[in-house]
Point group: C2
Amino acid sequence: MTREEVAMICKAMSDTNRLRIIEMLTQGEKCGCNLLEELKVTQPTLSHHMKVLSDCNLVSSYKDGKWQHYSINCETFKEYKDYIAGITCCETKKGALL
Amino acid sequence: MTREEVAMICKAMSDTNRLRIIEMLTQGEKCGCNLLEELKVTQPTLSHHMKVLSDCNLVSSYKDGKWQHYSINCETFKEYKDYIAGITCCETKKGALL
DNA sequence: TCTACACATAGATGTCAATCTATTTGATGG
DNA sequence: CCATCAAATAGATTGACATCTATGTGTAGA
């Protein structure tokens, strides 16, 4: 995962509404209308946020009749976690391996 | 760590220059002038980026004579990692403990 | 076919962010 | 005391973003 991709994911996660959406998706797949019920935004605004999350592959979706179902994209998320985990700090400053 | 704090940290990390700075600080403490050498930005721009990173406590610093020394704030970073690690997805959807 | 619902797109608006130049502040060394 | 270097601040500009209203596009059911 490139630095640009990580930056893009961070930007997608830099909005409290989108963080809340991700938290909700942690509980499992949800459709747009479900998400809308719990957020204080209009439907077009939600649509915008879902696009931001989808554009960086943080969220996957498929259409089922009228409904668009969203879920967290584990693969991307794992890569992101790995990047974050790779950022070491003081504990490792004296020549530790990781 | 609140959702607002996480969002603030994500925003701070949503810029490739700042991500690069964090990566550089992974190698240990550095002063502003060191960071400036490797980034293609002016000194005021770097100063701005360091303020963004400091405002969300992602980076700590102290002044030593003319130099301002920066390092990653492990405590904040650990809390952030914990938050990210807590975001589960498909692998855990069927009643897993974590 | 008509209506209702889920969602996306278009366009507008106000706010915020990244960057620069210019200047200021503070510390060091001659 | 003056020149120099590190860093911060001020102010301007450009572009991006979050949000809204209005409208369009499908799908489902009466």
